[in-house]
Every structure is written in C-alpha cells, then in structure tokens.
C-alpha cells in the first residue's frame, strides 16, 4: 500500500508540475502581451502587430467601468504599446547617442495595481529601483549600458502622438531591467500609463485593455465564454455605443491572437506527452508491484486450492484485494499529493537564487497547477495498474493441477 500511495503521490505532483510549467509559459504571454482576453478597436485588431495608436480605444474610463461591472471577477488593465526613439544627451544637451525602443505603458504607480507583478518586477531590476513618481521609467539594461546611462540619468523619448504629431518628453531612468529576450533587451522601455497618455496625447485612451481571468492559468473555454457575454452586450458600456463600428471595441481571447493558437496546441501536446510517459512509467512500476505481490502468494493459493476453495473465488478475492489496496493507496497518495500541490502552489518554488540573471521573461518562481485532474490522475496507476498486475499474476491460479499441487506443496 505504501508503494501504491507513493506512486499516486508522485503522479499527482508531477502531473500538476508539468501542467504548471507549461501553463506558466502561456501565462507569461498572457501577462506580457495578450491578456487572457484583450479589448481593442476593430481597426486596431487588424494591425495589432504594428500597435497603431491612432486606432486606439477612446473613452477608456467608461469602458473600464462597464467591463468591471460586467465581469467583476476579472482584472482589467489598460495598456499602451509604442515605438519611439530614445535620445541620450551629452552635458550640453546635444545628442550623444540614440536608438529605437519598443515601449510598454502600464499601470506602474496605481494603488493595488498587479501590473508590476505580471511583469515580474521588481525581481528583474538589475540596477536602481521601481519608478515611484511620474516621469520615472525602467529601461532595458543592455540599452542603458550601450549608451552608458543608468539610474538617475535622463533621456528624451521622441515619438508620435495618437494624432501623428511630434512628441518629445524627458524621462529619468529609475532602474534598468533584464527582459530575457534579445530583441527587447536591445531596446525597450517600461513606463507608467499616465506618463504615456500625457506623452502621446492619449488622455482617456489606450491601445488595448487586457483582461485577466480569476484562474491561475489560461482557460480557453472560460475566455470564450467571457467573449460571448461581451458580444452579447455585457461590459461593453453605453459610452461607446455611438462610436463608428470601425473603432468599436472588440474582445479577442488569447487563443485567437496571432500565433497563440499554435502555442496552445504545442503546450498541450508537450504536457500531454510528458504526462502520458510519466503515468505510463508509474503504471508499469505499480503493475509490476501488483504482479510480484500476486506471485509471492503462489503457495497460499495452492493451499487454498488444496483445501477445496474454488479457483474463481480465489481469483476474484485477489482482484478485490488489489482493488481495495489500490483504492486506499491511491486515496492516501492523492490526498498527500493534493496537499503538497496546494502548499507549493501557494508558496512556489523559488529558482531565482539558482539563476545568475533573473529576467522579466523567465519567472524566478514556478508553481504546480491546480486542475480537476489532480483529484483522479493518481488512480490510473494506483488502481488500474494494481488490478492489471494482480489479474496477470492470478492467471496462474487456473493453471494449477491438483495432481501436481501436492507434489509442489510437498504433502
């Protein structure tokens, strides 16, 4: 029973671990780019890869209120993505160096904002600190190093407003971060949403509003349900009803955004394969345990046959015993496994101390996933394999001949 319990425990824990790690990679995309659902204008959605802020959502405050009222369990985060030029001045204010940057404007300073956590901040800060006031930004460490800039230094962001005008805004570097992706580390900036709104003339506007489901990992069915309700009118608000259809907000699930459908299938396939291989291996171990357990009772079965017990009865009692032991072992193993999963899901495994360079795209803390399957996955090797092993071992019961039995038992 101890072996069965351990097997079920390991199955439950490793299943949720694989699901957790795979789910984390999807979650990272959700946090950085797609949300579990994303609200953009119809026109923006068609060119989403270019982040066309001239097609941004207007009347964001009204829409946000409607979204919060329509989907109170979800967290909604307006964001602005932009491309600009970062210009680093010399002591005379002349251009010392400049480079293109990709920018994220998120709610960094708002009370209770979960955006810093989604970006794995402040763990990814290499130098300096988190922005604490307007005008302070985080810059990619590689970009800052390339231009010999650091916390406390200023630079000018040269970009285009929502209407297409020039915008030149001076910012102070609060800290530098490591994104963990070459392209972003070469040139990326992270600033507070209000700063970006002021810089790009986007008051009460946002390029996109990301919605996050109240679940740890992305759930496509749940996301689609949210989209269906939004399309039916929930959370779409009155303030935007008069807008041109081209600029009316549309909601898209993570799975429907560019490249994500393939990623979901890939993650599902990889986790499915790993789980299948592990459950198979564990099943073989427990099947073998059942088989050996049955074979060890060879003499006992012989005596019972010699005493006149029906072979079918012995076989059925063997299977019943296997079922009971397997079930009790699986229940115990699953219980302990689920407890471990809950504990480590809450606490998390902190790998950041083992990583030389923590970054925004490589989370330092990993957690097992809590899914409905953890309550039954342990029973596959625990019960089925035990039954199968004992069933195979018990086949010998029917092969015993009474004439040879006394000889075997040295009677």
């Amino acid at each position: 029973m101890i072996v069965v319990s351990l097997g079920a425990l390991l199955t439950v824990f490793l299943y949720s671990w694989v699901k957790g790690v795979m789910g984390d990679s999807i979650e990272m995309s959700s946090n950085f780019d797609t949300g579990d659902v994303k609200v953009v204008t119809r026109a923006y959605a068609r060119q989403a890869d270019q982040y066309p802020n001239d097609l941004a959502i207007l009347g964001v405050d009204t829409l946000l209120e409607a979204l919060k009222a329509g989907f109170p369990d979800m967290d909604w985060a307006p964001r602005i993505r932009f491309g600009a030029l970062a210009d680093f001045p010399d002591s005379l204010g002349e251009t010392r160096g400049q480079g293109p940057v990709a920018g994220w404007a998120v709610d960094l300073l708002g009370e209770g904002s979960r955006e810093p956590e989604r970006f794995n901040l402040p763990a990814a800060i290499v130098r300096g600190r988190m922005p604490e006031s307007r005008g302070e930004v985080l810059l990619a460490e590689n970009l800052a190093s390339r231009f010999d800039a650091g916390p406390g230094d200023s630079f000018t962001l040269f970009g285009t407003t929502m209407e297409g005008g020039f915008t030149f805004v001076n910012y102070t570097i609060a800290g530098t971060v490591r994104f963990g992706a070459t392209g972003l580390d070469r040139g990326a900036v992270l600033m507070d949403l209000q700063d970006a709104r002021a810089a790009f003339a986007m008051e009460d506007a946002a390029g996109e509003i990301l919605g996050f489901l109240p679940v740890f990992h992305y759930d496509d069915r749940m996301a689609q349900e949210v989209v269906s309700r939004f399309q039916a009118g929930a959370g779409s608000g009155d303030g935007i009803s008069g807008q041109d259809q081209e600029y009316a907000p549309v909601m898209i699930t993570l799975g429907r955004q560019a490249g994500m459908a393939e990623m979901l299938v890939y993650a599902e396939a990889i986790s499915g394969m790993l789980i299948f291989l592990f459950v198979l291996a564990m099943s073989i171990v427990l099947w073998n345990a059942g088989l050996l357990g049955g074979l060890r009772r060879y003499t006992e079965f012989g005596i019972r046959i010699a005493l006149g017990e029906d072979k079918g009865h012995i076989y059925r009692s063997l299977l019943w015993e296997a079922l009971v032991i397997g079930s009790i072992g699986s229940i115990l193993g699953t219980f302990v496994g689920v407890v471990f999963v809950y504990i480590f899901h809450h606490v998390g495994f902190n790998f950041s101390s083992m990583m030389q360079q923590a970054s925004m795209l490589i989370p330092g803390i990993m957690r097992p996933a809590i899914t409905p399957a953890i309550y039954y996955i342990g029973f596959i090797p625990g019960v089925l394999s035990m039954l199968l092993g004992n069933a195979l071992a018990g086949r010998g019961i029917y092969k015993r001949q009474t004439s040879r039995l006394f000889n075997e038992l040295e009677v």
Binding site: L55, E94, T95, F158, T161, E163, G165, F168
Partner: protein
C-alpha cells in the same frame, strides 16, 4: 534586292537611334525646365499641411527658409502643441528642436525614412531638394492629358545610389513645365508614393504648384495636403538662420 533590304534596315535602325536620342534630349530639356521652375537659390515660404489620418484630420502651419539644396530651416507655427518646434537641415544632417523638452535631437539613419508628424512625407522627402537633372536620367514614355492639360510623361531613373526613390514617373505640364503628378517607385517596381500637384501659379518669373496632395501608398490614411500660402524666391536670408543657434 538584298542590298535594298539591308539599306532599308540601316536607315530604319539609324532613324530609330536618332529618334531615341531626340527623345532623350527632349526629356532632358523638359527636366531642365522643371528644375528652373522648382529650384531656386533660396526661398522663404509659409505653408499649411493637412494630414488626413484614418480617424481625424489635423492641420499644421509652418514657415520655412531654404538656401540651395543643402540648408533649410522650418519652424512650426501651429497648432499650439507643435508651435516652436524647429527642424534644421545642414548638408545631409537633420536636427529637431522642441521647446517642450528643450532638447535638440539629431535625426539620422533609418529614422529619416519615418513619417513627419504622421504625414505622408518622410524626413527624406522633406530634405531632398536636389535638382532632378542632377539625380535622374529621363526618357519620354508617353504624351497624354491630365486634368485637361497636355502632359508629357517622363520616366526618371536614378543615376546615383543616394536617392529615396530609384524610379519616378512624372506627368509634366507640356506648356508650363511643372509636374502635375509624380509617382515614386522602389527598385522592385513597387509604387511607394504618389503626389498630385494643383493650382500652378505664376510666381516671380516661374510657374509653381501651390497645392500638393501626397499619398503614401503603403499607408491607409487619406493623404496629406500641402498648401503653400506664400512664397518668395531668391531673396536675402540672414546667415544665422542656417545655424544650430537658430533652433533655440
């Protein structure tokens, strides 16, 4: 008989060569006349640029000073958010000064291909003021009418590598020698931009189009309308205008 055919072929071949040379000469002559109309030693003009975006339209007014093809200063006058912003071109360098950040920023490299203020013009478009005859060879490809005017259609092919558009097609008014339409192509043959020019006026001793509609064919906006409200050619411009000190 053979000799007659050979003689006929020779005459035809020579005739064709002569015709081609004449057409090339004609194209060059037309282009020189276009240059005489459009180029100047220096000029000062005020203009408005209406950018028809996908969602809204906005108008920016500016005043520009230019000397030859290598020096130019533009000061934006309105709207308030752009007022005081200045762009200075010296040789092949471009600086922008903005009072809001109190910074002078140099624009270079691929940034020169970016749109100016969301318009259909790039910095390169604004900077390149060279004479067409210096940059392109031309040939007459058609004669047509455009907007009721007789036009000669020239195909321009760049003779140098440092041009934004390796090939251009130009519909030139056959009487005033001012382009009425320009199409700019990439080396691959893709149409990049189209400019329609209107309201050709007699200014000083030349014909000059005072309204132009630019359309970046790779963008989905409604084009950019550029209107010259006043222009003076070959006038005295103080030296300090074309220095970085004039930016602030």
């Amino acid at each position: 008989m053979k000799t007659t055919i050979l003689l006929f072929a020779l005459i035809l071949f020579t005739g064709l060569l002569t015709l081609q040379a004449q057409e090339q000469n004609e194209a060059l002559t037309i282009l020189e006349k276009v240059d005489r109309n459009l180029s100047a030693q220096n000029r000062i003009f005020e203009s408005s640029m209406t950018i028809h975006g996908r969602r809204t339209s906005r108008t920016i007014t500016s005043k520009s000073w230019s000397r030859g093809e290598k020096e130019a200063l533009t000061e934006y006058l309105s709207p308030a958010s752009e007022a005081g912003t200045k762009m200075l071109k010296l040789e092949d360098q471009l600086w922008i000064y903005t009072p809001s950040a109190d910074r002078t920023i140099q624009i270079s490299g691929h940034m020169l291909r970016q749109s100016v203020m969301g318009s259909d013009l790039s910095y390169e478009d604004m900077m390149d003021d060279r004479k067409l005859t210096e940059v392109y060879s031309a040939e007459v490809v058609a004669r047509d009418t455009l907007g009721g005017e007789r036009v000669v259609v020239l195909q321009l092919t760049a003779r140098r590598g440092d041009v934004a558009y390796p090939v251009q097609k130009m519909w030139i008014d056959a009487e005033k020698f001012v382009p009425l339409r320009q199409e700019m192509y990439a080396r691959s043959g893709q149409l990049l931009k189209r400019v329609d020019l209107f309201e050709v006026r007699r200014i000083q001793d030349r014909w000059f189009p005072t309204r132009m509609v630019y359309r970046d064919m790779l963008k989905t906006g409604g084009g950019t309308e550029f209107t010259v409200s006043s222009i003076v050619f070959d006038t005295q411009i103080p030296e300090h205008i074309f220095s970085k000190a004039s930016l602030r």
